[in-house]
């Protein structure tokens, strides 16, 4: 049997040289006349080890990493095809503690299979969820998802089954499933990984959603910053059509489901579901007033399910193994697994899928190994640009929606960005306001005008101009933003700003510094950069 070598085709792995490694592997196989082939799998999500190369042996898959193209001949010389020792040898992949300690449900196949091989997908449990769904009534599918306790992984944590039920119970000749693949939060990449590393699971999840609510058409709204994921999705969708898993007769069921990926255009606000729908309709991505909810009047005015990539990609395993299996993971009102993304200044950055309940500290130290710089950790921002900055003293917070809300923070899409002691929180607060100003959809005044005002006020605080009054003014501004914003961009931007002031007051009390680093790289006003 031909030997299999795995070299990830994931964009992050490619960003540190996986393509050159794959080429070097192919060359060595040819010049040594070996019976081996290179599979371009997804990433296992251990990014500090990328490019992580694996080889299939009787002992299981053996990992080597991080591999450079130059080291490939040496790997062959050392006998890596038999899993023999080498400087980069990491042992049996599944036994690497980082992976072994995880509970991979949504990511069960990511990094293991060939993402574009439907037969790989099916032989690793793929399409069993759909198969079971096809034996159930729509009501029973929705009930199963409700009972699993699955809550939306896009940030708001709304129960997925309840959303589906509303769409199911709203009669219409046309309904839609829209996958929110805008993944705009800094520190997050789980959606990207699954779309590149196991795209069929998203297609299957959306198909099940379609059958559950009676929708025959689906769109994936993908951010334009992910061109590689787009190509991968296009290929996977074409394969699914070709093999009868999409189209007018899905898996021989006689039921129809069509799916099309669409690309966003670089607006963070288009991750908000109503703005996303406007954008899909070809309009400016401005927030819609709610009600009506998208579940009642969504895309083109029709009942629409809008769900995050991870929410939808989790549906197949719930349908396959049952609601009880899934809800047995987790704690309190947060059931199942959370896909934590360790990012920023962290030694072992990567994807950690674990039952809810792990603490920030466990995630950052037990998995992440502390800061990449080796300097003391000073601040952590979870939940993206609208999430709070936590100091070291809050690291024992469990990673669960309610626990974060209690501490005026947000778990969001599960991104955790670590900063060492070189961070300046006044500077970060300023960035948050600047981000809000750049990304505001412009619909309401507090956000549109208040954020620009916020930048000015923080600049004055940093420059030590009337600090006491300006800090008070900043507090008032934040209150106006919280109370007067139509959506969570303006409404939550006070989280990072006020948490910085609250937990790191010393950074707002320094002598006026030379202009902060950011000043130098402030964007030039050009039409392309609003």
């Amino acid at each position: 049997m031909s030997l299999k070598i795995f070299v990830p085709g994931d964009a992050a792995a490619l960003s540190v040289g996986a393509e050159a490694v794959a080429k070097a592997m192919t060359q060595q196989i040819a010049s040594r006349r070996l019976d081996a082939s290179v599979v371009r799998n997804g990433s296992r999500g251990m990014f500090w080890l990328e490019p992580l190369v694996e080889v299939e042996t009787p002992r299981g898959r053996i990992a080597y990493g991080p591999v450079t193209a130059e080291e490939v001949p040496g790997l062959f010389d050392a006998g890596f095809l038999e899993g023999k020792p080498h400087r980069l040898h990491l042992g049996v992949t599944e036994d690497i503690p980082y992976l072994k300690k995880q509970e991979r449900l949504t990511f069960a196949r990511c990094g293991i299979t060939d993402p574009l091989s439907l037969s790989d997908y099916v032989s690793h449990g793929g399409y069993r969820g759909l198969e079971r769904a096809l034996t159930l009534t729509p009501q029973a599918i929705v009930e199963e998802v409700t009972n699993s306790g699955l809550r939306g992984r896009g940030g708001a944590g709304f129960p997925t089954g309840i959303k589906w039920k509303t769409v199911l119970n709203t009669p219409s000749h046309q309904k839609y499933i829209v996958c929110n693949a805008d993944e705009g939060d800094s520190g997050t990449y789980a959606d990207r990984m699954i779309m590149e590393g196991d795209p069929f699971v998203l297609i299957e999840g959306m198909t099940i959603a379609g059958f559950a609510v009676g929708a025959t058409s689906g769109y994936i709204y993908l951010r334009s910053e992910y061109p590689h994921a787009f190509r991968q999705l296009q290929r996977a969708i074409a394969i699914a059509y070709d093999k009868g898993y999409l189209g007018e007769n899905v898996a021989g069921s006689g039921k129809r489901f069509d799916l099309e990926p669409r690309i966003g255009a670089g607006a963070y606000i288009c991750g908000e579901e109503t703005s996303l729908l406007e954008s899909l309709e070809g309009k400016r991505g401005q927030i819609r007033f709610k009600p009506p909810l998208p579940a009642l009047k969504g895309l083109f005015g029709q009942p629409t399910v809008v769900n995050n990539v991870i929410s939808l990609a989790t549906v197949p395993i719930i349908m396959d193994k049952g609601a009880q299996y899934y809800r047995d993971f987790g704690m309190g009102k947060s059931r199942g697994t959370l896909t934590i993304q360790l990012a920023g200044n962290i030694k072992r950055g990567g994807l950690v899928e674990k039952a809810f309940g792990l603490t920030l500290r466990e995630a950052i130290y037990d998995f992440g190994g502390g800061t990449a710089s080796g300097r003391p950790l000073r601040a952590v921002q979870a939940g993206g640009p609208l999430g709070a900055y936590f100091p070291e003293s809050l690291l024992d917070t469990p990673l669960d929606y309610e626990a974060f809300a209690e501490r005026k923070g947000m778990l969001g899409h599960g991104g955790i960005v670590v900063f060492d002691d070189t961070v300046d929180l006044a500077h970060q607060a300023r960035f948050a306001m600047e981000f809000c100003a750049v990304e505001s959809c412009g619909k309401c005044t507090p956000c549109r005008v208040g954020s620009t005002r916020g930048v000015e006020v923080i600049d004055k605080i940093i420059a030590n101009q009337d600090r006491v009054q300006n800090l008070e003014l900043l507090g008032d501004l934040c209150e106006v933003l919280t109370d007067g914003s139509l959506c969570a961009l303006g409404g939550l931007i006070p989280f990072p700003v006020q948490s910085a002031v609250r937990h790191f007051p010393e950074d707002f009390d320094k002598p006026a510094p030379p202009p902060p680093a950011f000043e130098a790289s402030k964007t030039q006003e050009t039409p392309s950069w609003r």
Partner: protein, 159 residues
């Protein structure tokens, strides 16, 4: 990289016609035009408006709303540099300043010889390998100032 042949109404019209019947066709059309020309020329607005039965103002409003759509032809290479939080924590600001100094332009600008346009982006989904940049659609991780220099040198060598 783009074919770089400048604006051409016939080619624009052809791209518009391929897509005009899609539901919500405006963004796909604008992307197609930008793929073709590197930017969305003012002259495209009436063509798109006519095809989709929209007013010029509506089309213009959409073009200007989204950060992606350029109004001017970019340089031969487009370097997008992430300045979001995870990349900040790994010192992207210093790297960005280095690139700005080296090319003699600020974010959003194009070099005089039209070889490079540099743009800011907020997250490229490579936050475990920060700082991240995207050069001509290709993602790079762990981009120190030295790596950035190398990428720029390489791009210059290949045109």
């Amino acid at each position: 990289m783009r074919s770089n042949q400048g604006w051409d109404a016939d080619r624009a019209q052809a791209r518009i016609q391929e897509l005009e019947r899609l539901p919500g066709a405006l963004l796909p059309i604008l992307h197609a035009l930008q793929d073709e020309f590197g930017y969305v020329d003012k002259a495209a607005i009436p063509l798109v408006a006519r095809a989709l039965n929209l007013s010029h103002a509506e089309v213009h409003g959409v073009v200007s709303f989204y950060h992606d759509f350029r109004h001017d032809e970019p340089g031969r290479h487009v370097l997008k540099m992430c300045r979001a939080e995870a990349c900040q924590s790994m010192g992207c600001e210093n790297m960005i300043r280095h690139v700005e100094n080296r090319l003699g332009i600020k974010l959003g600008g194009t070099t005089e010889d039209r070889s490079f346009t540099v743009e800011a982006v907020y997250c490229l989904g490579n936050c475990a390998l920060s700082p991240a940049v995207m050069l001509d659609g290709k993602l790079y991780g762990r981009v120190s100032s030295d790596v950035a220099d190398f990428l720029i040198d390489e791009a210059k060598r290949h045109a």
